[in-house]
Subunit: 437 residues, 2 copies
């Protein structure tokens, strides 16, 4: 007999989970629509070569399809690269789009922490040549709106800029060829202390101890507008062209975020690096903060719930003439948020309805199937959500029990008397009140 | 440079298509919910062995993933087999569920006729041991409701029963080992004339000419209750146990469909066979009928827009102890319906909005970016769908042009005067009326 399970790191969603997830997705999508985004859809499988060389070390996590003759295909790893491919292929230079869909990564699943090999991403991106930092600020506003609306507890949105990071590396004596690898080491600072990051830099990555120490002085800084001003005055950093550009834009970003009234949740954090290769400017990541009343372990496991940044070079990688389309976008980590809300729902003991049925069509005596079929058909045709038991002669008690089990609020009862009188008895399942109509 | 396209038989959906598709999916899902179904979700990839041996000749169309270490996976071919696997794995014996998701087939794409290698299926299924034909009748009611609501034009739902077909084969002298292959030949009767089907039976499938001729007498029959009665009187067919059961249930089905008031669109058609192996009882298929005013070719290409049937043995194939869970279900051919609606939309010249933005925040003079950012932030926080151009100083004409291009009905204008007065000028884009508020 065959083994009966789903693939490693994937799972079924029973109705209660789908109901919760749909509620979550609706909230996210309604925010994306509030910001004027249109939806696109792209295939789950892309040409293998479309995905190669876009994800750095993580390229090995891509699921490839078997060569069954024809093209070599792979499952999409994220929604950003397919979006860039879409823009280049259709020569779109200007678009605000959202895309909610599943992506695939042959990662080591950590299912207790909401990490799976098949999972939803909810992406919002703005493509086009615009004035600096206006779309970037809107992405942060979106993260702020969604996390506030979902009432996940206190959060902070860390912001940095790849140009500032690269500037720091440059003035600390890191050769340009090591910028990306240094970035991925710095990115670990949210999980491990500086000493460990430092020893990885010196050991594995081969930076000099002096360079590592100088980097350490910068990447442990975080703050707001004051820190930006301070770094703009920094004698070495302000001499670096990229860093200066990045800092200038960061200042502008904070100006816009002040007008949006959300700087209270924003932290300019030089340790934020983000793993992916394709970022070129602003990067950001939203993190839930520890709640005092909850279990430390559970929340520590969740951490980042949204992230994104600017990737001005990606579309150009697909364009035959290398034409660039600047982009900035955000991805909401819906699976992690789902894990939190699910834990919370379980803890609260609240039961989510999985159907929307308004009325059960029931009969109290035998041989009334025809009456039930006739009535339910009329209800359906009138757009009313109605069910009946698929038995010829079910007991009334069983029918009312079904209402209670599944949360159906009303029962429409047709018995011999009601049939004779040409009426229906409508019963409120919880109060047991009845009216004939 | 890399090749810039999507995989063969797959496609991107730009915003206008997603908007139309979402409208269609909403109508289908709302019908499923009206009938009390809950949603489940299963992974896109299943274990390879879960899918093998379920689809007859079509097994070769399954997309397999590369062996990258670990389990052998394949992309789902339909939503029915994963549903059966879900029921068996979770020991669910009773469930009414819907599932709207993409499935994958390495078929020869006929994209002009709406046939793709990646496409949506919309499935509704009822699992459980119930009294005969009540869930089956509901599946037909659902097809009737959806096709009526979508206004696709006249249609007919063909109904047959695998037991009746097998009974016909048996009394015509076909050996039981050839029932399935005979089925798939009969199934072609909607596309080719009887003579061709007959010669395939005798030639490729090795039936005797006499058997083929006798089959031909039956499978060219179609009608209603009268035909059922006639076959119940048929001296040979009524002697066959399976056929008799099937005909008895067909009669019961027509009784229920009469109560639903939908027999006008139902045809008991002995030529209907359906390709898949797993059907065990009632089978059905909805076909759009030729419209006189439209292009013959286009509509002929579309044909079947929904189908389904009873599969009482499939769950048992997954259960370690072979326990059966009877199931009946329907799948709506959303991609074909989409093709029709899209052609119709193009023909009508109607333009579907791809965003829902209610108001554009605009400024008539320079240096008013701050005012725009402040106002739009207030609108977003109040739940209003608002956009602005991502330029520091856009021309008012450009801003109003954007409204007209994208169908935004209102513009909220803040100029120097409005700022001084503490008001906003609200402009109706189409009538050009303005109010200060």
């Amino acid at each position: 007999r065959l083994v009966l399970h789903t693939g490693q790191g994937t799972r079924d969603h029973p109705p209660a989970q789908v109901a919760l997830r749909d509620r979550l997705l609706r909230a996210v999508v309604s925010c994306f629509k509030r910001h004027g985004a249109a939806a696109i859809d792209t295939p789950v499988m892309e040409l293998r070569e479309t995905l190669m060389g876009k994800y750095g070390e993580d390229t090995k996590l891509i699921y490839e399809l078997q060569d069954q003759g024809g093209e070599l295909l792979a499952l999409r790893y994220d929604l950003t690269v397919p979006f860039a491919r879409y823009l280049a292929m259709n020569k779109v230079t200007n678009m605000k789009r959202y895309h909610v869909a599943k992506v695939y990564r042959r990662d080591n699943p950590a299912t207790t922490r909401g990490r799976y090999r098949e999972f939803y991403q909810c992406d919002f991106d703005i493509a086009g040549q615009f004035d600096p930092m206006i779309p970037d600020a809107e992405c942060l506003k979106i993260v702020h709106e969604i996390l506030t609306e979902l009432q996940l507890g206190d959060f902070v949105i860390k912001v940095n800029d790849r140009r500032i990071l690269n500037g720091v590396f440059a003035i600390c004596g890191v050769p340009e060829s090591k910028f990306i690898t240094a970035c991925s080491t710095v990115d670990k600072l949210d999980k491990v202390p500086w000493e460990e990051v430092r020893s990885e830099m010196v050991g594995e990555k081969g930076l000099s101890p002096e360079a590592a120490d100088r980097i350490g002085e910068y990447v442990q800084l975080h703050g707001g507008l004051d820190l930006i001003e301070q770094l703009l005055q920094d004698p070495k950093l302000s001499q670096n062209k990229l860093a200066k550009e990045g800092l200038g834009d960061m200042k502008l970003l904070f100006e816009y975020l002040t007008l949006f009234g959300i700087t209270g949740k924003i932290s300019f954090d030089l340790s934020l690096a983000r793993g992916l290769d394709y970022y070129t400017g602003v990067i950001f990541e939203a993190v839930l903060l520890q709640q005092q009343n909850e279990h430390v372990d559970e929340l520590l496991g969740v951490g980042s719930v949204a992230g994104g940044g600017r990737y001005d070079g990606l579309v150009g990688m697909f364009d035959p003439k290398g034409r660039k389309v600047p982009c900035v976008g955000v991805s909401i980590g819906i699976e992690r948020i789902f894990s939190i809300l699910e834990q919370r729902l379980v803890a609260s003991g609240e039961k989510l309805r999985t159907t929307e049925t308004q009325v059960l069509v029931a009969t109290p005596q035998k041989r009334l199937l025809a009456a039930r079929l006739k009535l339910i058909s009329e209800l359906w045709d009138a757009g009313i959500k109605a069910e009946m038991l698929y038995k010829k002669d079910p007991k009334l008690l069983k029918q009312l029990q079904y209402c209670e089990d599944t949360g159906i609020p009303l029962a429409a009862i047709v018995g011999e008397q009601e049939l004779a009188d040409g009426v229906v008895k409508l019963r409120d399942v919880s109060t047991r009140e009845e009216v004939r109509m």
